[in-house]
Symmetry: C2
Subunit: 395 residues, 2 copies
């Protein structure tokens, strides 16, 4: 899973890569950084012509006693995944507790179940996967329960019980769950400490503020990836979306510009997808809460149909939720939960968001059809047709 090693960087691209080194300070006045070598603690100043900040995100942690006990794992780095894997191989863990029902929490819950553990999941919100509206999130909660996860919703994590430096239980505001192993999946926040200390401005999303070229407000300092913010093309507002797709494009755009070329980051519409067991989940655009916060009037519609022609083997369920503006019919957001073949359809709706398409235009799309892959009316176009009916009940 390591895309490129330091050696490849050096030999193929003439890029010197320092691993196990940490930047302790940025001096924007004199255009230099203070580097510390972890091996021996030695520090020195390095000058820069251009500085790219790609410090990523840090996992959100609640400071409680016993957080550093044995058996408690975050899975935010390659190494942390390996550590957890080893722990499970060595220890005779029976009870696992996952704290947080986001992408990481759910993927971990699934895989702990597959390893034969008894898995409890604690989620603060009404349903897991809070990037979905609760009505769609419920479908994911149901799928988790179906594979045997004990789900505790609207429950607040409060602390750990430990025994001899080893975790023994997770305490919530409602109960105590026995735990031999705990996985933390409470989300991430942009890692901007270093930038902030140097006086590089942070935006309202708490990510480093950048322009479309990925320049920060400080000369010759660039930022991208999980530590920076992006403009959301539907709301027009800066957002922090810590996803690989965004980070990859940020890096590319900043790199081209630093190298003397010209590229701009186009912004995001908030597209994301995930696989939880056999359930496929995807979202794009704004959720109901975000639409309400902006103040737009809207309708929603959930259409349940099938991923393939009804008579074709393995035609399975797909639910498509659309959110559209009331007077214009313009799509504002979409969410999909379904079985094999469901989630990737979100891309049609993401494209529609980029082009500010309305429900009629989505319904009128000439989408592909073949019995193994779709009903004659693709679920996305059908959802638009159904939502349109709700928008114009008189027609």
């Amino acid at each position: 899973m390591i895309v490129r090693t330091p050696r490849v960087f050096r030999e193929k691209q003439n890029i010197e890569t320092y691993v196990s080194h940490e930047v302790r300070e940025i001096d924007i006045e004199r255009q230099r950084i203070r580097v510390q070598r972890k091996e021996d603690g030695k520090t020195w100043w390095e000058p820069y012509d251009h500085l790219m900040i790609a410090t990523g995100s840090v996992p959100i942690r609640i400071p409680v006693q016993g957080s550093d006990s044995e058996g408690i794992f975050g899975v935010n780095t390659y190494e942390s995944g390996i550590k957890l894997n080893r722990f499970l191989d060595d220890a005779s863990a029976k009870n696992a507790v996952v704290i947080g029902g986001g992408y990481i929490g759910l993927e971990m819950a699934e895989n702990l179940i597959k390893r034969g553990l008894s898995v409890s999941l604690v989620e603060l919100n009404k349903e897991v996967m809070s990037t979905l509206d609760p009505d769609m999130g419920k479908l994911v909660s149901d799928a988790l329960i179906e594979i045997g996860v004990k789900l505790f919703r609207e429950e607040r994590f409060e602390g750990f019980e430990t025994d001899n430096g080893r975790v023994r239980a997770v305490v919530t505001d409602k109960r105590t769950l026995p735990a031999d192993v705990v996985v933390l999946g409470m989300g991430v926040r942009p890692n901007t400490e270093l930038a902030q200390k140097a006086g590089i401005p942070i935006g309202p999303s708490k990510g480093i503020r950048v322009n479309p070229l990925l320049q920060t407000d400080v000369e010759n300092v660039w930022a991208g990836g999980d530590c920076a913010e992006s403009i959301h093309l539907v709301s027009g507002k800066p957002v922090h979306i810590p996803l690989g797709t965004v980070a990859n494009k940020h890096g590319r755009v900043a790199g081209i510009n630093i190298g003397g070329g010209y590229a701009t980051f186009p912004g995001v519409v908030g597209t994301a997808m995930s696989k939880i067991c056999a359930v496929e989940v995807a979202r794009t655009g704004l959720g109901e809460k975000e639409v309400q916060r902006i103040g737009l009037h809207y309708i929603t519609s959930v259409t349940r149909t099938r991923t393939r022609a009804g008579y074709y083997p393995n035609a399975d369920s797909i639910s498509v939720k659309l959110i559209a503006e009331k007077n214009t019919g313009r799509l504002l957001g979409a969410q999909i939960v379904g079985r094999e073949g469901a989630a990737k359809r979100i891309d049609i709706l993401a494209t529609a968001l980029h082009r500010r398409m309305n429900l009629q235009e989505i319904m009128d799309l000439d989408l592909s059809y073949a019995p193994p892959y779709s009903p004659v009316w693709d679920p996305v176009a059908l959802a638009a047709r159904v939502a349109l009916k709700k928008l114009q009940p008189d027609t």
Copy 2:
């Protein structure tokens, strides 16, 4: 596979359905049709306020001796499929010859192979699936050969050899192929004989000419489905695209209008897909030949990548061909051949065609990513990025 029976039409929708009746003549002056009951040959005139012509398409047949011999099948109706199935159950057929490498021919070849027959396929063009450009069609030809089909390309069907009223061989301009069973898949043409005789105008695509409401040029006469033409939104020209998606929408639009509502058919971008064994095939927009015929200057680019993250199990190949206008970068057409998860991605490009998007805009789309479903750069966005490089070699 029968969606609605005459009884359901009568009981649930108060629609009288005449099966085994044929319309022999349309009298547009007196607004009536001459109907013949097949059972006893009796004919009579029926008046109409509105007449909807939905005569579909007819299979293309080359008039040669022995065409009506036993063992020769078209598979254009439900009944014809059943007949072929029965024939294969009863007869000890060993050698099958499929004439024509379009959607029907390929699906039949695959299923004859699955039934254990030795299958030859005769194709007039350079590669099968001539709705694709030959470079992409070759990938489909290769897949057919891989499953054991004996493929004879650039070969013209000339006739049958028969024995006692039973087919024995298929003769091409290059060889004689032994045949116990023959499947004809030479495409279809709009079934407009009845309309033409009545003086209802036909368009340049040979389908019945209709306006966006699906009205023909004759008052109170409507047409839709395989017998009618549609406007292609990329070329702006009328085309005949005999597909279920188009027919379904035609029927809906005409029905709403005849019923006193208002609906328009938005036009097509020529999206189609198919499954040939494990190979998924899809296309949208214009092919190279069509672009050349219009006279547009264009670039093409074929990008081969993977359907999933490289490290994920079953990450398999996908080839995306893009055709874009030279000066504007506007997408003109796209073709996809690949493995599981490949074909449905055509819908992103179909949506892009509807909105006249250019390569930069497609590359900039915020498409969904998760390792089980996509690399970080979705194959469609990556293809746009690669094609853009070809369009602007200096940047």
